[in-house]
């Protein structure tokens, strides 16, 4: 198992702290398209949140702003306790490298690499040596149930398995936040169900999980659901 580096983190005690926060966030694209029209939301550390809404409702934009891949046009954004509005490109990259794990609908695995190296590549920008990255990757692949398939290449894996590799890549570095954009969108219902269960299981260890879906059955498995429409937050249900 991986050695804990207690005391290395400058994070506050995660219990009851806000992992993700948006305050009056507006996102306007060139050409005048307003994808977000003043969204405010708090997501606590360890929360599991589904963001639902029809296409074009702004849910992916919200996720990319939370994931610091895009900057808000106005408003305040806090990720893992940090103000990201005024942060530099390299500070945001550091945040993504250490704190955030992404899972995409389209897997985004590199064909020329084994599952192990795809997962190890998820920690490339943390500057740790390849041997250590591979060790962590192996542990992560075992956790998602692909311990036997570490030498397989993406083209030798099923869709569900590819998404598991992508999930392993997202969690191998032990991020505090997992952001998933329609992770079951390209999968059949059975694989989708098992991927969803896996995400819930991984998040139950304490990571914050925000997942975008337009599938109500997927959303129903989450304790908290945010409803988006036309760039606005129109519902916030808790169970």
């Amino acid at each position: 198992m991986i050695a804990e580096t207690g005391g290395m983190s400058a994070q506050p005690n995660p219990a009851n702290s806000v992992a993700l926060e948006l305050r009056d966030v507006v996102k306007e694209y060139p050409g005048g398209v307003r994808a977000l029209r003043g969204v405010s939301v708090d997501i606590q550390t360890g929360d599991r949140v589904a963001v639902v809404g029809p296409s074009g409702s702004g849910k992916t934009t919200m996720l990319t702003i939370l994931g610091t891949l895009e900057r808000a046009s106005s408003g305040a954004v806090t990720v893992a306790g940090r103000d990201v509005v005024n942060a530099s490109d390299s500070d945001l990259a550091g945040l993504r490298a250490y704190e955030i794990g992404f899972v995409f609908q389209g897997f985004h695995l590199q064909d020329g690499m084994t599952a192990l190296d795809n997962v190890a590549n998820g920690m490339l920008y943390m500057g740790s040596p390849l041997r250590e990255r591979r060790e962590l990757a192996k542990v992560a692949l075992e956790r998602v149930g692909l311990g036997e398939r570490i030498t397989h290449r993406p083209q030798q894996l099923s869709g569900g398995e590819k998404q598991r590799v992508a999930i392993a890549r997202a969690i191998a570095k032990r991020p505090t936040i997992i952001l998933a954009d329609e992770p079951t969108g390209n999968l059949d219902s059975k694989s989708g169900q098992s991927v969803l269960e896996l995400l819930h299981e991984l998040a139950s260890d304490g990571a914050t999980l925000a997942l975008i879906t337009h599938d109500d059955h997927v959303a129903e498995t989450f304790p908290r659901r945010l409803q988006m429409r036309d760039g606005e937050l129109v519902g916030d249900e808790r169970r």
């Binding site: 207690g6 360890g46 891949l69 250490y98 992404f102 590549n121 920008y125 390849l130 962590l136 304490g206």
Partner: protein, 414 residues
């Protein structure tokens, strides 16, 4: 698993001012660039080929010219730079001057002169295999009278038989220049071969190898001066005098030669140094390469454009990968350096391949021409360095384009 365990990676984090820093050490950057090329081997090979051809052509041009120059310079070193020639000049009205028959003994008496030899034109004698050959078919072969010193003075060598000595120069014997022997189809001086020279039978006693310092001698056959005076009634006025001076006194001897050869008409004497001609020829070979190098540079430019083109296509195709890397923590700078490194690596590989092509081409040429194989030392550094520079320049625009790409837009294109 505890929350704390989940939140902390198993490796120490590089930090700056309490923040996590995204890093990509140079060896990882190299690995990423190499991986990028390895996943597109054929394309990488084809675009590197453009650079390889350009650099290969340039290395070959430089190598071939260096080999030829090395060969000429080796020849010059071998033959020595201390040979001077004295020839009659032309008068103000265009008529030929005549060197006085005292010139050879006068020069021989000079200080710092090692060896003197002379040839004397025998204008009214022609060479035939038999008396039955029509007299107008001379084959362009001239007859010169000379002394036993000629071969030594010229650093020449005998291919077959021997040159004149004090005895044979008085007898009707003949030594053939290399080209003349070929024209007369005589390959060996053994077996008592006879030639009909100026109406008399002469015995062939030797065949010379080509005289590099004065190849015009190769077309002639040589008879001894006493025989020529006796049989063909020539005046002993030298048509050309060869002077081997002490190596360190070449210029002082050269300055005095004209006045010594003909004290009454020093202006009518031409003095030259045959090695100068060869050195000039070596330099001329260097000049010729400039044009070919220019052509190589054009090939290189085309190769560079090919690399830039392929990298732009690569950026467009790999938007998904770029977006993913940004999501994994790559800064814009990491993305641009990745594409720059790929482009540079591609071109360096092309440069190294070109160096090898060029060296092989030079080697084949040098074997064909029987010359030493020379690839200039600077090419070993310059070829990959040129590749690096070309790749870096060609990669600038694609790298900037990749870095500018919005990660969300990039991730949407799967």
């Amino acid at each position: 698993m505890s929350v704390a365990a989940l939140r902390r990676p198993g490796v120490p984090r590089p930090r700056r001012g309490g923040r996590d820093v995204a890093r990509l050490p140079p060896h990882e950057l190299f690995g990423v660039a190499l991986q990028g090329l390895r996943t597109r081997k054929l394309r990488a090979a084809l675009s590197a080929l453009g650079i390889a051809i350009g650099i290969g052509a340039m290395v070959a041009v430089v190598g071939v010219s260096a080999s030829s120059q090395a060969n000429l310079l080796a020849t010059i070193d071998n033959l020595g730079t201390n040979l001077l020639t004295v020839t009659p000049g032309t008068t103000f009205f265009g008529a030929n001057e005549v060197l006085p028959n005292t010139s050879v003994p006068m020069i021989r008496a000079m200080r710092n002169v090692q060896r003197v030899s002379a040839v004397y034109s025998v204008p009214n004698a022609n060479v035939f295999r038999t008396p039955f050959v029509p007299s107008e078919e001379t084959g362009g072969i001239g007859v010169d009278a000379t002394d036993p010193q000629l071969v030594k003075a010229m650093n020449g060598t005998v291919a077959s038989g021997h040159f004149f000595d004090a005895a044979s120069e008085n007898e009707p014997t003949v030594v053939l220049g290399a080209a003349a022997a070929q024209d007369l189809q005589i390959t060996s001086a053994t077996g008592h071969v006879q030639l009909f020279v100026g109406g008399t039978w002469f015995t062939v006693i030797g065949i010379l190898n080509s005289m590099t310092l004065d190849t015009s001698l190769d077309d002639n056959v040589f008879v001894g001066l006493p025989v020529a005076q006796r049989l063909f009634q020539i005046e002993p006025d030298p048509s050309e005098i060869y002077v081997r001076a002490n190596v360190n006194d070449v210029s002082s001897v050269s300055n005095l030669l004209a006045a010594t050869a003909d004290p009454q008409n020093a202006d009518g004497v031409d003095v030259s140094q045959p090695s100068d001609v060869l050195e000039a020829r070596a330099a001329a070979k260097g000049q010729f390469t400039t044009l070919l190098l220019g052509l190589g540079a054009v090939a290189l430019l085309v190769g560079a454009i090919g690399i830039a083109n392929i990298m732009v296509i690569s950026v467009l195709e790999r938007r998904g990968e770029i977006g993913l890397r940004r999501a994994l923590g790559a800064t814009r700078r990491h993305i641009s350096s990745q594409f720059l490194a790929e482009s540079a690596l591609l071109a360096v590989l092309g440069g190294v391949a070109g160096l090898i092509f060029g060296a092989i081409a030079t080697w084949i040429y040098s074997i064909g021409q029987n010359e030493p194989w020379v690839v200039p030392l600077y090419a070993l550094i310059a070829a990959p360095a040129a590749g690096l520079a070309i790749g870096a320049i060609a990669g600038l625009y694609p790298a900037a384009k990749a870095a500018r790409l919005s990660p969300t837009e990039a991730l949407r294109s799967t």
